[in-house]
Subunit: 361 residues, 2 copies
């Protein structure tokens, strides 16, 4: 059960990217302070808070000072080192509970966890050696995607194996680290469900979001997603069950495929992100409460809000040099431009986003 | 013409209260930095920025360092000392142009300015001595309100003179400073019009807002206001003319009375606030662009957005100890709670506000 923070209390956030930045901006609206901890000197989240620590995640003295300066700790990314989380946990509540990270930091453990809940995923198999790969292909079929068990995001640490390609090449590309082979899913659409779970166990889901990726990076999110109502309800139930199984406090996102077999549509869970999620950015401008505020409310021990959507919504990521054309969005009716205050617009770097809302009439 | 700031540029803000805080939060979304200048150590706006200066408004060295550290200067309150503004103007653009302050800091000059534009106000007369008061009462009639020409806000520096009361007592209460006597208006409702004017001269108005005061402090704003469409259009034209006459850059608010004489409703301008305004707080949650973002866009030399309203909206101020009951708002559907991070909830102090939106269906 999280502490019931008073206004003026300080939330410590591990990570100084755009998610930490938007969490801090949401906290500020509620009269809560944030203290950002990040190893990178030019972290964009540093700009929107008074208190920050620039130190590595294994700097024990800095971590202890950070723990002493805050009332609760949360994080903006799922690759928080287990040791860092454990160290902080001894001094202050860390939310969501770091035991969630042990599951979601490893694709194999995560998939097993989902499967044990009786929730459908794509077929998968562990691959810990070149020889195990052949057996995995036998189980999963081809085409399939070989993924490193740990530290993958935005398509990094992945290799597709087609019927004509050499599996050994994929294995070498991923440098012989423990992997998981996932059956390639011919999906109709990709959707995600962003949900918040409060310290009191109550869950509030945002509307199912339809996601379009380019080069393995989210490009556009659209709400409402084009899915039938029963499937949308199933997506909410799935996210709620996962959040409950984790005894989760905060916001999480569940990425899913909509698969059509004949006339039947079903959902397969692809991935869980134990944090605020890019596909939930639309909630800042498109709903009466944002995913960032819900997360802050949850870790502060405050009740969640019931989100109401404000119209049809479309969120577009500004990736790399696309940010140089951002000004064109300033005069688009109903568009809200968000720039993260990052430095160089390197290829693939998320520099900002635009949310366009068409208010209902 | 304001500078066309690049993302990452720094806007200097004079004043560290909730208006400066909300301006800084709006700038952060756009990837712009803010540097807050305020004499008060515990300024709530300091909490949401990395760079701040705590110094008095007559500290020339601090002002020069501030000017050197920012790309443009704006302010959150209308009582910026003329000398401070003049000093800063020599180094950096100050927007809106401080010449506006010379007008709006003095009720008499302001009223003359409005009258010269051919815009209706309540009857008024200058009162610079006890003897002038009798003549003023002759002109304006009773009941009337005696107000100090300078430094009045939220009902401070005012004394009502009724038909039975002693005018000399009112004059003594205001301590013999230059005053203005304003005819008491039997209005149907109080409304305000918040408008933004960009560096390119384009004006964008928010919807007319209906305001309810308690103890001379704004308590509730409602949108849409219950005024006929032609009157709403007139309010927008009035604000637009005032903004143009000032060659204004930024957001201003025009407070007006709706007066009903027989079956005819007319508008009388009561006051101009050359800044973002409490009656525009609803735009953060109730429109696709907020007054704070419009102001930041204007002073940054960026184009304004066309505001779309997201539904019916009601904004309630949390004044003084009312903030202690703020948690009750957290679970009201469509309500967004804003707490300003101020210290003691002294009587009459604006501690936060709540915006409730009923999205259109």
């Amino acid at each position: 059960m999280p502490a019931n923070l008073k206004p003026g209390a300080t939330i410590g956030i591990l990570g100084g990217g755009q998610l930490g930045r938007m969490l801090a901006l949401a906290a500020a609206r509620l009269g809560l302070r944030c203290h950002i901890y990040s190893p990178e000197k030019d972290s964009c989240a540093f700009e929107v808070v008074k208190a920050s620590t620039c130190a590595t995640y294994d700097d024990e003295r800095a971590l202890m000072r950070f723990a002493a300066a805050v009332d609760v700790v949360t994080y903006e990314f799922e690759n928080v080192p287990a040791k860092t989380a454990a160290l902080l946990s001894r001094r202050k509540a860390v939310l969501p509970d770091p035991k969630v990270l042990e599951i979601t930091q490893d694709r194999l453990i995560e998939k097993n966890f989902i499967a044990e809940l009786g929730i459908a995923t794509a077929p998968y198999a562990a691959v810990h050696s070149a020889s195990q790969l052949a057996a995995a292909i036998e189980t999963v079929g081809l085409p399939a995607v070989l993924k490193t068990r740990q530290f993958g995001y935005d398509g990094k640490g992945q290799a597709t194996i087609g019927k004509a390609s050499d599996p050994a090449a994929a294995w070498r590309k991923l440098r012989n680290v423990p992997c998981i082979l996932e059956g390639f899913i011919g999906f109709e659409r990709e959707v995600s469900l962003v949900a918040a779970r409060g310290g009191d166990g109550k869950v509030e889901c945002f509307d199912v979001t339809e996601n379009e990726h380019r080069d393995h990076i989210l490009k556009i999110s659209r709400v409402p997603a084009k899915v039938p109502a029963p499937l949308a309800a199933e997506a909410q139930r799935t996210a709620t069950r996962i959040a409950k199984a984790f005894d989760y406090v905060g916001v999480l996102a569940v990425e899913m495929f909509v698969v059509k077999r004949g006339r039947i549509r079903t959902l397969l869970v692809n991935e869980i992100a134990p944090r605020v999620h890019n596909s939930g950015h639309w909630t800042i401008d498109g709903a009466t409460v944002s995913q960032f505020e819900q997360h802050i409310r949850a870790v502060a021990g405050w009740p969640l809000a019931k989100p109401l959507r404000l119209g049809r919504v479309e969120m577009t990521n500004l990736i790399g040099p696309e940010v140089n054309e951002a000004a064109a969005w300033l005069t688009v009716p109903g568009a809200s431009l968000h720039l993260y205050g990052k430095g160089e617009p390197r290829a693939g770097r998320k520099m900002g986003h635009v949310t366009r809302v068409w208010p209902a009439r």
